[in-house]
């Protein structure tokens, strides 16, 4: 449901990037998505396509790479990616790290031509 907000943030970022690389144009953006990100890639792609239609970013492809979620220790603040919920912090040994609060969708790369 909130994929359109995320697509809008991505569109804003891509618009900032465009003049930096001109005269080259953005062809694709590669995103890292973890299974706990609460995002549907197809809905995000749909929103991005709708927002970029009839703009210089029309036709930019979104590609998704699956990555493990990031957990943060509530005692020492250490952050680490784990495929499954870890039982303790690998830094300080405190029990039961929690999924990181921040956004878990990252831009990994983009292709320009």
């Amino acid at each position: 449901m909130h994929e359109l907000s995320v697509a809008a943030a991505l569109f804003e970022w891509a618009e900032e990037q465009s003049p930096i690389h001109a005269p080259l144009v953005i062809r694709s953006i590669e995103l890292e998505l973890d299974p706990m990100s609460c995002l549907n890639p197809e809905a995000l792609r749909f929103g991005f396509t709708a927002l970029t239609a009839e703009t210089p970013l029309a036709g930019v492809a979104l590609e998704f790479v699956s990555v493990p979620p990031t957990y943060e220790c509530r005692m020492c603040g250490a952050r680490r990616a784990f495929r499954d919920s870890p039982s303790s912090c690998s830094g300080c040994g405190a029990p039961l790290p929690r999924l990181a609060r921040e956004s878990s969708l990252k831009i990994r790369s983009m292709e320009v031509e």
Binding site: H2, V6, L96, R98, E102, R108, S109, V112
Partner: protein, 226 residues
């Protein structure tokens, strides 16, 4: 020729930056913010009302309440004797950090110790947005079913506490509170759990003990407001 440029960035980094600003503001003023997330009808507003009653004479509290439309919830909460600000989100299905930042300097929130943020009723999208809160609370009501932590792990994995609400309705469905708790711990081993009914008052002391602990954990960093 196609050139690949790599980044270490985040799509929602703008929200994360604003959330960090909110957290700095609140921490400097000694305000504990709790983000209440649950389905529509899970009992978020009732929990705010019950909390207002407990806070009376003890803790200075205010509420921000998010809905797509109307100010019904803010009106309800104000009748319980605390300041309430309605955030109307229109087509947005969640609150974001900017919405909170827009409110933190308002007079109603100036001299408070506890800020209850009642998010838009939704188990998915609000979980993805850091609001700068001290803790996230997932609210699961008895009529919703005890399997929701397994179905919507993103929220429970980010929450510090799960409130099982409307326990006065236990026995009227197949909801098993022990199973709900086990399901939550299966996806989020760290999570604390309290069971309560705002209607009968049963179990509210578990919630207020948890709140008191959060309040004790946060002390002002400076004497000056940020």
């Amino acid at each position: 020729m196609i050139t690949k440029i790599t980044f270490e960035n985040k799509v929602l980094s703008k929200n994360d930056r604003i959330a960090a600003d909110v957290r700095r503001h609140l921490t400097a003023r000694g305000i504990v913010a709790v983000n209440l997330i649950g389905s529509p009808g899970s009992g978020k507003t009732s929990l705010v009302e019950s909390t207002a009653a407990w806070c009376h004479g003890r803790v200075a509290v205010a509420a921000l309440t998010g809905d797509q439309a109307t100010r019904h919830d803010a009106d309800r909460i104000e009748r319980s004797g605390i300041p309430a600000i309605q955030i109307t989100t229109g087509n947005e299905c969640h609150l974001n950090a900017q919405r909170i930042l827009d409110c933190v300097a308002l007079d109603e929130l100036w001299d408070i110790e506890l800020l209850l943020i009642e998010n838009v009723g939704n188990l998915i999208c609000p979980a993805a947005y850091d609001l700068g809160e001290a803790a996230k609370v997932a609210i699961l009501s008895v009529p919703e079913g005890d399997d929701k932590p397994l179905k919507y792990p993103g929220l429970f994995q980010r929450a510090d506490l799960m409130v099982v609400s409307k326990i006065d309705l236990l026995g009227s469905s197949d909801f098993d509170a022990d199973r709900a708790e086990a399901n939550a711990r299966e996806v989020a081993p760290h999570i604390e759990v309290v069971r309560l009914s705002c209607r009968t008052g049963e179990g509210l002391e578990g919630w207020t003990r948890w709140l008191a602990r959060q309040l004790a954990l946060t002390a002002p960093l400076t004497a000056q407001p940020a």
